[in-house]
Subunit: 688 residues, 2 copies
């Protein structure tokens, strides 16, 4: 046991250094200790009271901290090799770890020179198999984009300059674009001007000129902008990139502008996950030292890796990607642009922007043509972002005559209600339960995740299917919805989510973390122990579904319509496409409406990015949509908490709200003979 570990271990509860908070940022005045990181060998001067996580950020050493450094995830373990540091007590370290000098970087504070060993846990290049982007052969674009292309290429054949015709290169090109194509007053930025002289001469004055013909937002009336100059007799690829920047996954479509076809797709985890799994954790992380810069770099690296993968596979030149459209929630968009999201998190939840400024690829360092315009789909507010306006555009909701509910289920449930004439939106913090967070054996929909479950009403034995039919590693969101519904219907849990330990099955038991149901025995898993769901897990799931239910209920009430009046329910988001409607209704996540009213649209965020990429008028539409959408702040709405509390049951406090579930339960009870189902009828109907 090292000195540091002894000292740290001896620091009991309340031993948190008083100086913390007063201490400056690492490297500022008052810095007095040296923190060395192994194995990188990097070091930094830090004031007493600075956390090792902050010191690491200042030194450029990356430490994974999914909870954003709040001491809530236990993932930022490091080892103190020598020197002085003070550790706050944490439930995430075992006594032998503490004795061995292990510490949580975010909960350990510099009190003298210290040496810290960081073992990087690589996030790796995991592909979310279950959510892999489909390759849409012909995506629906309702408008006539071909008559109004964003990017176009024309061939210009010039006379070389002479002493008697010695106009500048740019003016010569402009003159001939006007003469030969009627394209006037072309704009050119510095980056392309740096290559112009050589490009014209190497092509022997016969060039293919790629132009951004229409500029977005308030500069729509600007003259065309020079994007690319290539020899007219060479290859003339003309591509775009549509990117869905999810908090968890990032999906990219490579689009051929000449055909509007998606030629390939790729997806990867958002590398920002190492700084926090959800939006709030990342905002917290962004407030530390170089946190914002690191988050921006990580998302850009993620996108660039996808571009590299796509262009390598398709042999498309990165220089031939002439435009990029990104759809992401408001925080993702802020982080992409390097804008501080601090006030997105703090009441009253104000973003810096809803419509992003004009940028080109070079400004962000994207692996595309440096002149390529990068669009971000506009947000409505801090919690209704570009992913949602993308959904409204790609779903056609904004052109519909019928009352439509659009639901994007994720860490945040975003909900839009409206017609072509009006739109209202809200966001409810569902938590990460449906994405596998806050659930002991929850996981993302990748290989080994249970995605479908059925429970026998008599034996309570489950039958399930995993992604890739691999040995069980955990349960993903769709699996959790299934499981919850099945456990409820079969009486394993009651309407409050309590497990009936009296059942005659080894599947229910009192576990280390309280009552639990065993979904898979150790022998069926690839993780060496049973995969279970606990009452705590179920509570988290109930809170998630209750938040979403309360969200659309309040939204309907706010405009005076009944849920039953909704003519269609569009389910968007990467997660939505894997939900079983019937089972989602059974737990009260989706409203109890006829199945035919539900439509699963897949990754509406990526589709919206694609739509605005290939269709200039859709770009104007999405700005209009964002501008006219009313944002209902649920935390300012008195009825939200009532709705939420009522929805914390299966399927709802008032079973009449879910007539199809009531009928199912009645049927099961009426059938009789099923011990479990019968035995729980009364409890199910109890009002708590």
């Amino acid at each position: 046991m090292t000195d540091a570990a002894t000292k740290a271990a001896g620091a009991g509860k309340g031993a948190r250094p008083a100086r913390r908070g007063e201490a400056g940022e690492p490297g500022t005045a008052g810095a007095s200790s040296t923190v060395r990181f192994k194995p990188s060998g990097r070091k930094v001067r830090a004031a007493a009271g600075v956390s090792l996580l902050d010191a690491a950020a200042a030194a450029g050493v990356e430490i994974e901290a999914p909870c954003g450094g709040q001491g809530r995830c236990g993932r930022c373990k490091v080892k103190l090799r020598s020197g002085d540091a003070e550790r706050r007590p944490t439930p995430f370290l075992r006594a032998e770890e503490i004795a061995d000098g292990v510490a949580l970087a975010c909960q350990t504070y510099v009190s003298g020179d210290v040496e810290v060993v960081v073992h990087k846990r690589a996030l790796g290049k995991v592909r979310p198999t279950g959510h892999a982007a489909a390759k849409p052969e012909a995506l629906p674009v309702s408008c006539d984009w071909r008559r109004n292309p964003a990017v176009d290429t024309v061939v210009v054949d010039m006379d070389p300059p002479s002493l008697l015709d010695n106009t500048s290169d740019l003016d010569r090109l402009r003159r001939e674009l006007s003469r030969q194509h009627g394209i006037n007053e072309v704009r050119a930025e510095l980056t392309i001007l740096g290559t112009l002289a050589r490009a014209l001469r190497e092509a022997d004055w016969k060039v293919a000129v790629t132009l951004e013909m229409r500029d977005w937002v308030y500069e729509a009336y600007l003259p065309p902008r020079l994007l690319d100059i290539r020899p007219a007799d060479g290859p003339l690829g003309n591509y775009g990139l549509a990117v869905d920047i999810g908090t968890t996954s990032v999906v990219a479509y490579l689009v051929d502008f000449d055909t509007a076809q998606v030629v390939d797709t790729a997806s990867a985890y958002n590398r920002q996950i190492e700084c926090g799994e959800d939006v709030i954790s990342r905002i917290i992380f962004s407030q530390r030292g170089a946190g914002l810069l690191r988050l921006q770099r990580l998302i850009l690296e993620t996108i660039n890796e996808l571009i590299d993968e796509l262009t390598e596979r398709t042999a498309v030149r990165q220089h031939d990607i002439h435009e990029v459209a990104c759809a992401g929630n408001t925080t993702m968009t802020h982080l992409l642009l390097g804008l501080d999201p601090k006030y997105v998190r703090e009441e009253p939840y104000i973003p810096t922007i809803t419509v992003a400024p004009k940028l080109v690829g070079a400004e962000l360092g994207l692996h595309v043509n440096p002149q390529a315009r990068v669009h971000c789909l506009p947000s409505v507010g801090s919690y209704v972002g570009g992913d949602i306006t993308a959904g409204v555009i790609s779903s056609g909701l904004y052109t519909s005559d019928r009352l439509t509910l659009f639901i994007d289920i994720g860490t945040n449930g975003e909900i839009v209600l409206g017609t072509k004439d009006w739109l209202i939106a809200c966001a409810c913090s569902a938590g990460p339960a449906f994405e596998g967070g806050g659930v002991g054996h929850g996981m993302r929909a990748s290989s080994g995740a249970i995605e479908d479950v059925w429970v026998n009403a008599t034996t309570f034995e489950p039958t399930f299917r995993t992604v890739d039919n691999a040995p069980v590693l955990g349960i993903c969101g769709s699996g959790l919805i299934d499981l919850l519904g099945e456990l409820f219907i079969t009486g394993v849990i009651d309407k409050s989510g309590h497990i009936d330990l009296s059942l005659d099955t080894p599947r229910v038991r009192q576990g280390q973390r309280g009552p639990e149901y065993v979904v898979a025995w150790e022998s069926d898993t690839g993780i060496g122990h049973d995969v279970t769901i606990t009452e705590t897990d179920i509570e988290n799931l109930l809170r998630a579904k209750a938040a979403i239910y309360a969200g659309y209920s309040v939204l309907c009430r706010s405009v005076g319509v009944e849920l039953a009046d909704v003519a269609q329910i569009l389910i968007g988001g990467a997660f939505g496409q894997y939900i079983n409607v019937e089972k989602a209704i059974r737990i009260g996540l989706l409203p109890d409406l006829p199945t035919e009213r539900f439509h699963f649209l897949g990754n509406t965020s990526a589709l919206g990015a694609y739509t605005t990429l290939v269709c200039v008028s859709c770009r104007h539409d999405v700005i209009d949509v964002a501008g006219k959408m009313t944002y209902l702040e649920l935390s300012a709405d008195n009825s939200f908490m009532d709705e939420y509390m009522s929805a914390l049951f299966l399927p709802h406090t008032h079973l009449d709200t879910f007539p199809s579930v009531k009928a199912l339960l009645d049927g099961l009870n009426a059938g009789g003979g099923k011990h479990a189902a019968a035995g729980h009828t009364d409890r199910r109907d109890e009002t708590p």
Copy 2:
């Protein structure tokens, strides 16, 4: 004597390695030797045949090479300490230097591993005393700029956001700008958005908003652009910077936008001088390795040093400099922007641009507000640049009813002829003689330079004045004009510039470099030897003045006007203000017209930058002026060479072209008794 020196010294004439020219750039394939530079310790891999100058550039080691690496100046001396390198013979090294391993970096080529000692000769922060920028108290701006300011500041008092008024920070600011000031659709770029959230909150929602109200060129109709957000109760400085980027000197005016007054000025040598003294040398330098980047960095460093000096002296915050206007010749503008000037030098002399693209301070790394727009005054062609359009604007020539000739005398003589209805311009390569180049004891107009000279017609003894009355270091341009005229009038030289060695004075003698006239004996100088002017120096001066005379003569003829019809001659440029008209006419540099038609305007380039900085309509005017000005390419004009040849005499082959000089000579001859003058009368009238 080291091995390298032995080998190099042994490399005789013609020993230039055959591989040169075939060799790749340093660091590319085929690189096989290591070049180490002392004292920096930097090293680089370079292929055989690469010059040490190129290798140094690749290694980031700066070596002064005023001729651009052509082997013509002898300034890039280095010392070979060990290893292999092959030296071309050069007249700039003495035998003992060669023996000691000294070499010219540009004339020495890698042939194996080599270690090179570079002794940096600091250019230092020399202030061109004689050309120091005057501090104009109230510069003439004819238009009513106050009614159309480029940059304006308004105060906005906002309600803080709440849950029920949760629009984004940018939209809130826009809304209040519109409500409180009627300013709509304000544009904001990413840089300022990054500071917006904090700026609004730190100012407690009461802010002073600085806006670029009018955008230049084809985006003149764009909405205002956000430049700065400051607390409304803090200091609200609003400044601009006008910069004259001369090939030799850079001059900056700090301008208070609120009063349009120049609050301070500063000037310094253009630090690019270390890469070449004239435009052509710098273009040649720009073609080596990282040459272009280095030239761009050097001019930006020069400007930043001037900004630092100005802001330190005036206590103006650099962040409060909200706009920058730069006037420079076409090559200087290309180098400032990092655009390759290669084709400016090669026939048919084509620049990439004449009108610079829109830039902000951050893009160039200028020490001003990162959002500050940086304007460059437009060029007409490769050799009529933004310094000349600046002159046309600031002189008012473009608004004049009278036939006007504008002459900017420098390394290039740029000449504009016209009225408010038409403008024609040309450029003639005068060479650097009037700036002290190509003249043995020539120098810039700094301390110790002879600037006025008179020669006694009987004794041939000179009387002179030096800048700062310091001991003689050399002769500057105005001194050379004086001297040439005096020597001619007194018969020391004839009309061809030949020195009369038969004169009875020790001042004329056969020197090491041929016949010469001693202007100052060693004892009067600060350099330890006599200051002289040789026949070779005089030839260079005759060529310079002949080029300028031929320029304006051809320009007049091309539009069918006589020189005598010119109503006013405006002399611009930093150098122009120090010329004595009478003596300039005497040598045939300026046309023989009544003195009252000449006007010296001072630094018209800096004045033009200032004018466009404070006056938005002048910005449009200068673009119009550049667009409508006809550029006459002298090398494509048949009559130019005839005019030039005829002007290679004092004052001209045809003395009748200079009646006032003829009268003066006649007077001197008629006066009689003056040995020298009389003795040379016949020769002066000879036609060669």
